[in-house]
Amino acid sequence: MLGKLLKHEWRAVWKVPVLLYGVLLLTGLIAGLTFSMPIWDSDWVGLPMSGVMLILMFYFALIGVSVGITIYFAVRYYKSMFTDEGYLTHTLPVSARELLLNKVITMGAWNLITMAAIVLALIVFGGTALLALKSGLGEFSREVFKAFSELPELLDEPYMEGFEGFCASIIWMMLATAFSGTMMLIGSITLGQMVRKHRILGSIGAYFGIQAITQTINTVVIMPFMFTVFEDWWWDVDSPFYIFTGFYVVMSLVTLAVAVGLYFLCEYLIRKKLELE
């Protein structure tokens, strides 16, 4: 039954995010192409300004798309679980676990896809920009290329040691965030339902509550780690990346633990405390 839930969920949701990704990639492309236009060295300030505006538009599209997709999935979760649609959702012959897993998997997967789309959009933007600059001749483009050509040498520097591990930890962090971000959303909305008369306000309150708890646990866990780092480690290594990697791994483990806890809390609430209006 979980498979069927996933199938229908997927079928119902794919259009909106795909449309948004399209918009994002398009703005990325346009913003990148501005570099190939002969506007940067113009005497009139209006031309480089409009170039900057186009690049800013891409920046806002990046934020807008990730926020938009988050809101889209949050609203969908709320509607299908707790409004009139819930009368169908909760009378399907499936368990509360299957209902919730369906949402967690779908939303988590779309979080990852969104991250991938953002990376792709950045590549499109950077790629078109680079191609444009390569053929260009201006002062500005020479500077940019010089900076890029120095990057590989940078990696050989002693303070860059552990950079690969750091990158891996960032990817791991993204994976963890895809899941924990989803649970944060689902958890806030589900907990918010317990405030029967003010369900949406309740959700917002729950969101800040969960954030505060996660922060507190993070601080408590990180503290001893920090002391170890500063006492024993700090002076022996040349590169700061080991420490960053360590922080990231610990923080993501804490968020994951909170997310798993939230999952079971939500499952319990849906099974036992559901009260549709």
């Binding site: 119902a12 009139d84 649609e85 009378t91 399907l92 012959p93 499936v94 009260e275």
Partner: protein, 233 residues
């Protein structure tokens, strides 16, 4: 075989200490059309939600085919709530495939036939349909299942006589033999003649459960008249 539905000592207290069901006991047999009758706020919808597993009892229990509400009971109970529960962006055809996938007892052919009779296009998006049409589509979906128990919550409240006739006819011609139809209503006049049995509830308790025929024989009046007498305000 177990009784279709057994309600034992069932109590539901909402927040703010509102007592909706008060130690209710009730048995719902198979193969009947039963009216669940009572004034507004008497606990009809709460009972129905509990049978459907949309609420948890505060005390006591409900057994459907001898088991508590869960995926197994939901597979054999077909429920028409008061609310329209569709996702507006769905097409009628998508709704049919949704029901076909989730409910083994759903007959898409029958649903298509009934939709065609009403000239409802399968390409129509649900949000474009009028309120009355949406309600009919929902009834068609619910009655296209070969369920053991159909639970219809106020199916005829606020509809015109033509729609009421359509609804009653759809129910009568589609419910499967040996299954039970439980119809809740506060408007008994319109449906008295389709009922085998009635359950009167008030203040979260069963006041009376009897066959329509027996009521007529022993009380010498129609169920309708008797209902008004019992619930005289």
């Amino acid at each position: 075989m177990n009784e279709l539905v057994e309600v034992n000592n069932l109590t539901k207290v909402y927040e703010k200490k509102k007592l909706a069901l008060d130690h209710m006991n009730l048995t719902i047999p198979r193969g009947r059309i039963i009216g669940l009758l009572g004034p507004n706020g008497s606990g009809k919808t709460t009972l129905i939600k509990l049978i459907n597993g949309l609420l948890e009892p505060t005390e006591g229990e409900i057994l459907v085919n001898g088991r508590r509400p869960g995926p197994e009971s939901k597979a054999c109970v077909s429920y028409l709530p008061e609310r329209t529960y569709f996702q507006g962006s769905m097409k009628v055809s998508e709704l049919i495939s949704y029901f076909t996938d989730f409910y083994q007892d759903f007959s898409p052919e029958r649903a298509r036939q009934m939709l065609a009779n009403l000239k409802i296009s399968e390409d129509a998006r649900l949000k474009t349909l009028s309120k009355g049409t949406k309600e009919k589509v929902q009834l068609i979906m619910v009655m296209s299942r070969q369920a053991q128990l159909y639970i219809l919550d106020e199916p005829i409240a606020g509809v015109d006589p033509a729609a009421r006739d359509y609804i009653l006819k759809t129910i009568i011609s589609n419910y499967s033999e040996m299954s039970t139809v439980l119809i809740s209503t506060h408007l008994i006049t319109d449906i008295a003649q389709v009922l085998d049995e009635v359950v009167f509830i008030r203040d979260g308790r069963v006041v009376l459960q009897d066959t329509v025929e027996h009521i007529r024989e022993t009380r010498g009046k129609s169920v309708d008249a008797f209902f008004r007498e019992v619930f005289a305000c």
